[in-house]
Symmetry: C4
Subunit: 194 residues, 4 copies
């Protein structure tokens, strides 16, 4: 029961974050291709942020699916993660509106880093109250490794943003791809369990 409500609340918050981001793409008052063209940086940052939030939703789904119990600490660690995720529309909008200027890209990378840390904390809090579960152990191991690597890459993206926007952007995209590759081990473990 408790677990279901944590899932439902997280789904709700992530669904809203992902959807209100589109409000940053202000409807142009003219019906010209130029007006539409001007929106490309906002659109691009929307695409990237949508993907990022989609990845978090997917991982969160796999993680919570594999556990049995939810306690007060898990609820707070989960809210902490949702807090950082809720700032993505802001950072994404700032970056898009200012055509990926170094500072905005650096802040975006920093925010993604905070989200990563918050996810890692959630992982550890869940670990401390859910032992002896094979599926969870595999999810934990895989997500921990990928999470660590992501944080290293995001940290590199912060100074890289001041060298060239394209470098920082590429690093962020690489992290996304890293997570998009489906994890056969997790899927196999989940299947075996059923």
């Amino acid at each position: 029961m408790t677990k279901t409500r944590v899932e439902a609340f997280s789904d709700g918050v992530i669904a809203i974050i992902i959807t209100i981001m589109v409000l940053e793409m202000k409807v142009p008052h003219e019906a010209s291709w130029e007006a539409l063209e001007k929106l490309w940086p906002v659109f691009l940052s929307y695409v990237v942020s949508f993907m990022m939030l989609g990845i978090y939703w997917g991982n969160h789904h796999h993680l919570v699916h594999s556990i049995k119990e939810v306690n007060g600490s898990v609820m707070w660690a989960n809210l902490h993660l949702l807090f950082w995720l809720s700032l993505i529309p802001f950072a994404s909008g700032w970056m898009g509106e200012n055509h990926f200027e170094p500072k905005t890209l650096a802040v975006y990378a920093l925010l993604l880093n905070f989200c990563g840390v918050a996810y890692y904390i959630l992982l550890k809090v869940i670990q401390s109250c859910n032992r002896n579960n094979e599926t969870f152990r595999i999810v934990l191991e895989k997500q921990s490794k990928k999470g660590m690597l992501s944080m290293v890459l995001y940290t590199l993206a912060i100074p890289a943003a001041f060298l060239h926007a394209a470098i920082a952007g590429s690093i962020i995209i690489i992290v996304a791809i890293l997570w998009l590759i489906p994890d056969r081990n997790i899927e196999k473990a989940t299947k075996k369990e059923h």
Copy 2:
């Protein structure tokens, strides 16, 4: 369990998309009939987009209801569909604000086309991991046929928008009606299953 969460997340996102669209109808500062009258194109495009999203919700409902299993690929194909659907408020608002100018109508038809393709991909991805289910087979067959026809019509609507707004508009309405006609075969199959 997994299936429920995909449904809940999709419901959440579609519910939010459908509702934030109403924010495009800016409250007029004067209490005159003229101020209200000026809103008719925005209102009309709201009605059409509401209907479109309602149809997607209904189809999505029938589709996911008929399947047993959800895996990583289904989750991503579903997110891909939600991404295109999330752009409907923007395209709808642009079209309404510019009184159905050819370019805006063409972009709207193009977006509906992308949504259609994304739905078709979801259909195919689901098909590859859910075999041997009679209800699903019927849903798949019907939705594939209608989906194909919709895409052909949407593609026709794009150049038609530059001839006359009314032609493109009519095509889009025809596609909506096509989907609004309840599918007796699907309902019968669903009923039989219970």
Copy 3:
């Protein structure tokens, strides 16, 4: 299963409608009591609309709770209701921003009337596919009677708005109170069933 998803989607849409209404109350840029005072009509219309939507949620809850089956027609009748409800933030905002001017009040009463009709249609559609259920019969009878009376009163409120805002306002409040009085018959019937 199907019923659950119709409930979840309706809950989502009503929850969002009720919450985005608060966005019409624009944050004043000054920290003065005068700036806050100016917001009272927007606040008052927010309170009334919140109550109205709360009543619809409650009724919808009782109605869908008492039925067994949901088919395509119910889904569409439900979406039709949600469409009219989704316009409440707009009508409410217009009314508040223009200090309950006759025209805005008349439009608000008209919209509530449309919502009432849409609810009545949903009631009838559900009736045609759910027979022989005692709880549902009682809910139906009570809600039909109250619904009829509401529609008569809302229709009276439209011309009344042009006589004096207070008369139309009072009628709308009376309808709200009519629904707020808990229905002992429905609660008893629901209890007996368990």
Copy 4:
């Protein structure tokens, strides 16, 4: 069933309230640190309000989790609580935009007080229809005590805001910390029940 829907609706509303608050943090048009720095009061009030809403969600969760039955009065008491919570984004935005001016802080403390009273009413309404449940008795006792103390502190924060913003702010933070300390008694009781 009924209980689930009250939970789902409350989750939805709280999730939306928590997320639309971020829209008050308007994306700056310049990519400078100064532009970002100017947002700190809005950001700070966002953090505090996020925490407050998170606490309400957690408490609501524990409260509703411990009960068996939900009736009409509970539904209305719950809606009443959601109404006051829905005003938090407004009060929070006003406070942030005006750099914690005494009046805005006082209004914020007053609103939190109203939320507290509404929660207390919900507690009492639930108590009158759910007897003889050990877990619920413990939740009730603990939350009543903390609730009383919170209301006293919030009431003190109102005049304190006019002395110095920092005093009122500290009181509000103290109340938050009071609730953030996990309640071992509730968790133990919940665990025992399973």
